[in-house]
C-alpha cells in the first residue's frame, strides 16, 4: 500500500492504495467520482479523460500514484455554483450527446483542446478529439459543440478551468 495525497475537483483527498491502482479506479472506487467512466481497456476510447495538473489525460492510462501531490479535475467539478462551464453548455445546446457515456471524457478533452487552441478550425477539432470515441452522435454535433464553445464561451473561463482545478 502506498499513501497518496492529491486534490480532486478542489478538495483534498488522501488514501492508502495499491501501487497498481489506476487513476480512474481511484477516482471511481475511492473518491466516488463516478461521473468519470471506463469505456475500454486499451486506452482507445477516452471516456475516462480528466485533467491532471491542467492537462487532459486518459485516467486509465495513469497510475493513481502518479497523481500524488497533483491536482485532478473531473467532469463533476466543472460547473461552479450551479453555473455550467461553457463547454458543457455548448454540448447541451448543440445536442452533442445522446447516451452521454462518452460525454465526460469528450467534454474534458474539448476543454483541453480549446485551452491550447481557442479558435480551432473544424479539422483541428476533429483531429483533437481523435482519441475519444462516441458511438451515438456520429461526431457531427460534438464537433459543432466545440466550435460553438469556441465562438460563444468566454475563452477566459475555458482557459482558467485548468488553472483552478
Amino acid at each position: 500500500m502506498t499513501r497518496i495525497s492529491l486534490t480532486v475537483d478542489g478538495e483534498k483527498v488522501s488514501d492508502d492504495i495499491e501501487a497498481r491502482m489506476l487513476l480512474v479506479q481511484y477516482l471511481r472506487e475511492k473518491v466516488g467520482k463516478t461521473g468519470t467512466v471506463i469505456g475500454c481497456d486499451t486506452s482507445n476510447c477516452g471516456a475516462c479523460t480528466v485533467h491532471l495538473n491542467g492537462q487532459s489525460v486518459k485516467s486509465c492510462n495513469v497510475l493513481a500514484v502518479q497523481a500524488d501531490g497533483g491536482e485532478v479535475a473531473t467532469i463533476e467539478g466543472l460547473a461552479t455554483n450551479g453555473e455550467l462551464h461553457p463547454v458543457q453548455t455548448a454540448f447541451r445546446e448543440c445536442h452533442g450527446l445522446q447516451c452521454g457515456f462518452c460525454t465526460p471524457g469528450m467534454i474534458m478533452q474539448s476543454i483541453d483542446l480549446l485551452a491550447n487552441n481557442p479558435h480551432p478550425t473544424e479539422e483541428e477539432v476533429r483531429v483533437g478529439l481523435e482519441g475519444n470515441l462516441c458511438r451515438c452522435t456520429g461526431y457531427h454535433n460534438i464537433v459543432r459543440a466545440v466550435m460553438y464553445a469556441a465562438e460563444h464561451g468566454s475563452s477566459d473561463s475555458v482557459q482558467s478551468e485548468g488553472a483552478s482545478a
Binding site: 461521473g35 468519470t36 445536442h95 450527446l97 445522446q98 481523435e130 470515441l133 458511438r135 461526431y139
Partner: protein, 829 residues
C-alpha cells in the same frame, strides 16, 4: 400550492420544436447512474473465467487455488449450479423444426465459442476477483470447430465440423417466403426464365461482414437479493423482457422480481439480450444471499456480447430490357454463431420483407438458412435484417442500371412506387401507408448538386485523374415500429408488440408520465414531455418522464426496432386523451355547465361562448381534494393506455454520397453526404438530426471500417478497440440532412421511426459510390469493409479484385518487416 399549468392557446406548439434535452443536465455534469456506479453494503464482485477455445469439452476445473485466495468468497462452475441457473432463451424460433442448441449461461461440460463462461469467481473487490480468476485451472479437450459460415453450412455434405454434435447438423432453420405461394405476387422462377430468354438477369453474391454493436458503456449488472423482491440493475435495453425471462427460466415468481435499467450508455441492439452474465450474477446473488456486481471489460464485451450481421446474400434479379423489374430471388446464409440468441434467426427474417424495398417487383422469393458455428452468437444490431436487405437491393439496382445503360436514379424511378399509389401492398405482403420517393429524391439531388458532381466525375474520368469520383445512391425504405402483435404471432415470435403508457396528474399540477419504452440515449424524457405538453396543454417543464424500472413502469416491451415513438408515443397520446375525458365531467361540475358545452384547448376547459374556464391543473387539484366531485366519480384523473399498432412504420429517404478514390493508393475520402428522409411528423428536429447523424456513421462504418475477424483457431482477433476499428471524429465528416414529410396514417401523430434509418440507408450509398468511382477499371463489387487494400486490389485486379475474406490474423501494430519486404504480399492480387 398549485403551480399554474394554464398555457395560452397561442404559445408555440411543443411538437416540432427543437427543445434542448432534459436528460443532458445530469449527463454533462457527471451526475449519472450507470449500473457500474452502484455500491451496496456488503456487495461482492464477480470475475468470469472464459474459454479460450471455440469448441472443447471441459474435462476438469481446478478451483482450489482461487478459493484459497484472501477475500475470495466463492468459485462456482456450471456443475455447482443446477436448475437455479436457468437457461438463455430464444424468443423467436423461426420454424417449428428449428434446431436450437441447449444454452446454459455457464455450461458444465462443453463450450461452443471462445469467450464462453466456464467459472465465476466471487470476491470482495473486482480486482481480487480478477486476480483469482487467473488461478482457476480449466482442462479442455479441443473439438473440431465450425468457423467459416459457408463451410459450416455445407458440413452435412462435406463432413466438416459440427458446432453442436448432438444436433447432427449446423443447419438450424430454413425460412421461406414465396410470393406465388402467399398469393402476393407471381412465380419468381417463371420471371427469371422469361428474362433469361428475353430480358436481363443479374446474379450477385454479397457479403455482410460480422459486426460488433460496441455500445460505449460496457455491460454491467448488479443483483440485490436482500429484501422481499430480488432487484436486478442492468445496462440493458429491455428491463421488462428481462423480468419476464428471469421468472420464466429461474423459477422466481415475476412478482418477486424488480428489474431496473438506470442510465444506460447506448445499445444499438447489442443490449437487446438476456445474457449469460445477467443470469450468472442473478444465480450467485441468490446462492450467497448478498448483493453482487459484474462489470465486463471492453475486451470481454467484444468477444462475448452478441455480434451482428454476418450473412452471405445471393440475389437473382430479373428485368425487362428497359430496366423494368420482373422478379427477385434471394437466398441467404445467416451465421447465428454458437447459439440461437433472444431474437436470433428472427433478424434475417425481419429483412425478408424488405428486399423488394420501394420497387414494384411482381414476383419475389426469399429463403434464409440459419447456420450454427463456433463463434460468438449473433443477434440484433441497429437495423437488424433491414440494413442487410437494403444493402443488397440497392447494390443490385446499381448493377441493373449499368446493364441497361442508364443513370442509377433513372432505373430506380422507373420501378419505385409512385406517391399517388399509396397505400401500396407489396409483393412481400406489407401495406406501405404513405411515402413520396419522388419528393425526397428531388430534394436530395438539389442539396447534393447531383448534376454538377456527375459532370465532375465525367471530367475526372476523361482526364484519367488518379483521384476518381464516385456517386452512390440509396433510395431506401424500411419497416420499423415493432410491431403488430398479430403479425408477430403469425411469425412465431414469443411476445407481442404493444406498448404502455400511464399519465399521473399530481395534486400540485405537475404531471408524471410513465412509459414502457426504455431509453438509452434516445431522448425520450424530452420528446415524451413535448407530446404530453401539447396533448394536455401543460408546460413542458412540468412533466416528468419515468421509465426503466419495472416497479415504476410495470408494463412495457422496451426499446428496439425504432418502436418507441410510433408505438409508445401513440400509447402516450391515448393515455392523455383518457385524462382529458376523465377531467371533462369534473370541469363541467366546477363550471356549472353542461359537458356538451365544454371545449378543451390549450390545457383549459371553457364554456363555449363565455370567458369561463378551468385549467386541467386546477381540475387535478380539485380531484385530489375530492371535496366536491360529481356524484359517483372516482377521485382520479390518472390514466393508462396500452396500444397495439395496426401496422409497421415505413420511413424512407434518398441518400447520396460522393467519394473520392485515390486509384494509386486505394485511399478513400468521403467528399459529401446528403440525405433527405421522410420520417413522418417530427417531434423534435434536434433529436432527429442526432439519430440520423449517428445512424449514418454506423452504416458508413460497416461500408468502410468495421469487421469482426476470426483466425483459423476461432479466436476473435479484432477483440479490442485497438483492432476493431470504430470511426473517430477525424474519420468522419459533417452531413447535410433534410426531410420531406408524408405523415403516417397509422398513428395519431403521423410519426414514423428514425432510430435505425441512417444505418439502414447509408451502407449501400457508400459502397455504391466506391464501386461507381472505379467501375471503369472493370470493378463490379468490393467486399465490405472497403479498405484501401481491397480498393487498390480491385483497381489493379479488375472484376475479380477486392473480394477476398479479411485475413484472420491480427494486424501488426508495429511494422517489423525488413525494408523492401513489405510490399510483396497482395501485389499480385
Amino acid at each position: 400550492m398549485t403551480a399554474t399549468q394554464e398555457r395560452p392557446a397561442d404559445v408555440q406548439a411543443e411538437i416540432g420544436r427543437d427543445r434542448r434535452r432534459k436528460e443532458d443536465q445530469r449527463l454533462i455534469t457527471g451526475r449519472t447512474r450507470w449500473t457500474d456506479n452502484l455500491q451496496l453494503n456488503g456487495m461482492l464482485h464477480l470475475a468470469m473465467v472464459r474459454s479460450p477455445f471455440p469448441h472443447a469439452t471441459i474435462t476438469n476445473i481446478e478451483t482450489s487455488a482461487a478459493k484459497d485466495t484472501t477475500n475470495v468468497v466463492a468459485v462456482l462452475t456450471g456443475k455447482d449450479f443446477g436448475e437455479e441457473l436457468g437457461v438463455c432463451i430464444n424468443a423467436w424460433p423461426i420454424t417449428p423444426d428449428q434446431k436450437t442448441p441447449a444454452h446454459s449461461p455457464m455450461p458444465a461440460d462443453r463450450v461452443a465459442f471462445a469467450g464462453e463462461i466456464v467459472a465465476v469467481v466471487v470476491a470482495r473487490t473486482a480486482a481480487e476477483a480478477r486476480d483469482a480468476a487467473e488461478l482457476v485451472e480449466v482442462d479442455y479437450e479441443e473439438l473440431p470447430a465450425a468457423l467459416e459460415l459457408k463451410a459450416a453450412a455445407a458440413a452435412d455434405e462435406n463432413g466438416g465440423a459440427i458446432a453442436h454434435p448432438d444436433l447432427g447438423t449446423n443447419k438450424s432453420a430454413l425460412w421461406v417466403f414465396d410470393s406465388g405461394e402467399a398469393g402476393t405476387g407471381g412465380d419468381v422462377e417463371e420471371a427469371i426464365a422469361s428474362a433469361r430468354t428475353d430480358g436481363i438477369v443479374i446474379e450477385r453474391e454479397y457479403r455482410q461482414q460480422r459486426l460488433i454493436p460496441a455500445f460505449m458503456e460496457p455491460r454491467s449488472v448488479v443483483v440485490d437479493p436482500t429484501g422481499e423482491q430480488l432487484t436486478m440493475w442492468s445496462a440493458t435495453q429491455i428491463p421488462h423482457i428481462l423480468r419476464f425471462a428471469l421468472a420464466a427460466t429461474t423459477g422466481v415468481p415475476e412478482s418477486k422480481i424488480r428489474v431496473i435499467a438506470p442510465d444506460v450508455g447506448g445499445g444499438f441492439g447489442g443490449k437487446l439480450q438476456a445474457t449469460p452474465e445477467e443470469w450468472i450474477t442473478w444465480a450467485v446473488a441468490r446462492r450467497l444471499g448478498k448483493p453482487v456486481k459484474y462489470t465486463e471489460t471492453r475486451s470481454e464485451s467484444l468477444i462475448s456480447a452478441h455480434h451482428g450481421r454476418d450473412q452471405w446474400q445471393k440475389l437473382t434479379l430479373a428485368a425487362q430490357k428497359d430496366g423494368t423489374v420482373t422478379g427477385l430471388k434471394v437466398e441467404l446464409l445467416a451465421d447465428l454463431g454458437a447459439y440461437v440468441a433472444l431474437v436470433g434467426g428472427g433478424v434475417p427474417v425481419l429483412g425478408a420483407f424488405m428486399f423488394n424495398s420501394i420497387y414494384k417487383f411482381p414476383a419475389y422469393h426469399f429463403a434464409c438458412q440459419t447456420v450454427l458455428t463456433n463463434k460468438t452468437w449473433t443477434d440484433a444490431y441497429r437495423g437488424a435484417g433491414r440494413p442487410e436487405a437494403t444493402f443488397a437491393i440497392e447494390r443490385i439496382m446499381d448493377e441493373l442500371a449499368v446493364e441497361v445503360g442508364v443513370d442509377p436514379l433513372e432505373v430506380r424511378e422507373k420501378n419505385w412506387i409512385k406517391h399517388e399509389e399509396f397505400p401500396f401492398t407489396t409483393v412481400a405482403g406489407l401495406e406501405y401507408d404513405t411515402g413520396n420517393y419522388e419528393a425526397a429524391t428531388e430534394r436530395a439531388k438539389e442539396m447534393f448538386g447531383y448534376d454538377d458532381l456527375r459532370a465532375e466525375q465525367k471530367r475526372r474520368r476523361e482526364a484519367n485523374d488518379p483521384v476518381q469520383l464516385g456517386i452512390g445512391i440509396s433510395t431506401f425504405t424500411e419497416m420499423c415500429g415493432l410491431a403488430p402483435s398479430r403479425v408477430l404471432g403469425s411469425l412465431d415470435y414469443g411476445a407481442g408488440g404493444w406498448e404502455s403508457a400511464t399519465i399521473r396528474m399530481l395534486a400540485t399540477g405537475k404531471v408524471e408520465v410513465v412509459t414502457g419504452s426504455s431509453a438509452h440515449g434516445q431522448g425520450h424524457e424530452t420528446a415524451w414531455s413535448q407530446i404530453v405538453a401539447d396533448r394536455l396543454g401543460v408546460a413542458f417543464e412540468d412533466i416528468e418522464v419515468l421509465h426503466g424500472d419495472t416497479q415504476v413502469s410495470a408494463k412495457g416491451l422496451d426499446t428496439y426496432g425504432s418502436r418507441s415513438l410510433t408505438v409508445g408515443g401513440e400509447a402516450l397520446v391515448r393515455a392523455a386523451d383518457k385524462v382529458i375525458e376523465k377531467a371533462r365531467p369534473v370541469a363541467a361540475h366546477m363550471l356549472e355547465a353542461s359537458v356538451d358545452d365544454l371545449e378543451f384547448t390549450g390545457g383549459r376547459f371553457s364554456v363555449r361562448g363565455t370567458d369561463q374556464g378551468v385549467a386541467i391543473g386546477e381540475i387535478a387539484t380539485a380531484v385530489f381534494a375530492a371535496h366536491d366531485l360529481p356524484d359517483g366519480m372516482e377521485p382520479s384523473l390518472d390514466s393508462e393506455a396500452t396500444y397495439d399498432p395496426v401496422n409497421f412504420s415505413f420511413p424512407h429517404g434518398t441518400h447520396l454520397c460522393a467519394i473520392e478514390v485515390d486509384t494509386e493508393t486505394g485511399a478513400l475520402k468521403i467528399r459529401k453526404y446528403v440525405c433527405c428522409d421522410d420520417i413522418g411528423t417530427i417531434i423534435n428536429p434536434l433529436i432527429v438530426a442526432g439519430q440520423i447523424h449517428g445512424g449514418l456513421v454506423q452504416g458508413i462504418a460497416q461500408a468502410l471500417w468495421e469487421e469482426a475477424v476470426y483466425d483459423e483457431n476461432g479466436t476473435l482477433v479484432s477483440g479490442s478497440f485497438v483492432d476493431y476499428l470504430l470511426p473517430t471524429a477525424a474519420d468522419t465528416i459533417n452531413f447535410d440532412i433534410d426531410h420531406t414529410t408524408s405523415p403516417s396514417t397509422t398513428n395519431t401523430l403521423g410519426t414514423k421511426g428514425v432510430g435505425e434509418a441512417g444505418t439502414i440507408a447509408s451502407t449501400p450509398a457508400v459502397v455504391n459510390a466506391v464501386v461507381d468511382a472505379i467501375r471503369h477499371f472493370g470493378v463490379t463489387d468490393i467486399q465490405m469493409p472497403c479498405t484501401p487494400e481491397r480498393v487498390w486490389k480491385a483497381v489493379n485486379g479488375g472484376t475479380h479484385g477486392g473480394t477476398e475474406d479479411t485475413e484472420g490474423a491480427a494486424m501488426p501494430h508495429f511494422d517489423e518487416a525488413e525494408p523492401g519486404n513489405s510490399s510483396t504480399e497482395g501485389a499480385g492480387a
